[in-house]
Symmetry: C2
């Protein structure tokens, strides 16, 4: 069957086989709804409940710890925090704010942090950079480091590869880590993060994958697969 | 004589006594000429040749190593680099660019760096933040950390407390470190930097000075003085 399965139909095949499925993304430039809509438009069978993303994970943390965030995030992500009290902030949440990473906004977030006895900075990921059609862009991790240094503090990172992030995806499915498999293209964020959480992990040789990943000093996937379809084939064969 | 000497007349008194004098500043929002003009306007006896500042120090490094910078600096500092070849950049020089720290400019500096086999980032200081009339602002060090993280590199810091910076001030005066005394308000940048260079250093209990500086874990000044005038008094008494 290998090669005959298209990546867009892979989710359908997985779900039809009775397996549970959760999409784990570090996307913070859109709400889960926006993200799902984009993927549905591309032909993927996916619903918002099947997506684990940093912003909803951060909202859970904010509620649990009674934190009221000052947001430095992308405009399209703001609705994700609609139900969160943002008056009189006692923490800063930073995401990939893109055009919102202005000098004024960075100074404002900094002032909120430096005004606290112990600054609380929650970062929706720690990516270094990413590529867009008009070139490479600094990712949230770079701005997180700027604020960490200025405030002499350490951010709490939500999103892959944080252990808690994978645990919340497992909780959504009601599956223990030993019974779950992560399929991803990022050797550190996907494979390393999932393994640290007790899951097995396959690296696909597509997307972010680079041949040098196979010599990574710390992370070794449980197996390599050429693409998502091949991963699904192998998993189904072993049921 | 203590207390009768005003800080603005201190330079006059020092020079009249036959001592050599050099001003060491981390100012990177203006050229040396602009900086001197501001101080002259405030009544200080000072000339550009008496000022050691990060940008001229960086220019020396750029020339020595045939580096052609992409500049991410304050508009008012650009003239300092007038004689430097900036075509086809092979390094990035970052200063306190203030309003020039835009999302677009940071991405552009990042792209220059990430395009190099081994990124060369020269930072005119590594301050965390500073205060202006309209509030606290992130300083160059925060943006330096952002670029360091994104490019997985380490910046070369020009300016206090870099040893080379003090050495170049000593060279300007033609004085060995054992015969020089640093007077400053910053425990790490002024006192620590000068001492690491073999100079003695006095901390004035004005400006940036904080009582907790006196318990600093690593740096201990050779003496404390209440202000610049008192420092000059003590030095002149020991001649």
């Amino acid at each position: 069957m290998a090669g005959t399965l298209h990546r867009k139909t892979a989710p359908v095949v997985i779900k039809a086989s009775g397996l549970k499925l959760q999409f784990c993304t570090n996307e913070t430039q859109a709400t889960r709804e926006g993200f799902v809509k984009k993927l549905q438009g591309m032909g993927f069978d996916i619903s918002a409940a099947e997506v684990t993303a940093p912003a909803p994970a951060a909202c859970r943390i904010l509620k649990e710890r009674s934190l009221r965030p000052h947001l430095l995030v992308h405009n399209d992500l703001v609705p994700e925090f609609a139900e969160i009290d943002k008056t009189n902030p006692n923490c800063v949440v930073i995401g990939d704010a893109a055009e919102n990473f202005t000098y004024a906004n960075l100074n404002e977030a900094f002032r909120v942090l430096i005004g606290m006895e112990k600054p609380v900075l929650i970062s929706l990921g720690k990516g270094r950079y990413y590529k867009e059609t008009d070139g490479l862009k600094l990712d949230v991790g770079a701005y997180m480091k700027a604020l960490e240094y200025a405030c002499d503090t350490q951010a709490e990172v939500v999103g892959k590869p944080a252990k808690m992030f994978f645990e919340s995806a497992l909780a959504e499915m009601g599956v223990p880590p030993q019974q779950a498999i992560m399929i991803g293209d990022d050797i550190v964020n996907d494979v390393g993060g999932a393994q640290r959480c007790g899951m097995r992990a396959l690296q696909v040789r597509t997307g972010k994958y680079r041949p040098c990943d196979e010599n990574h000093p710390h992370v070794k996937p449980d197996a390599y697969v050429n693409n998502l379809a091949e991963a699904v084939d192998i998993i189904l064969q072993q049921l």
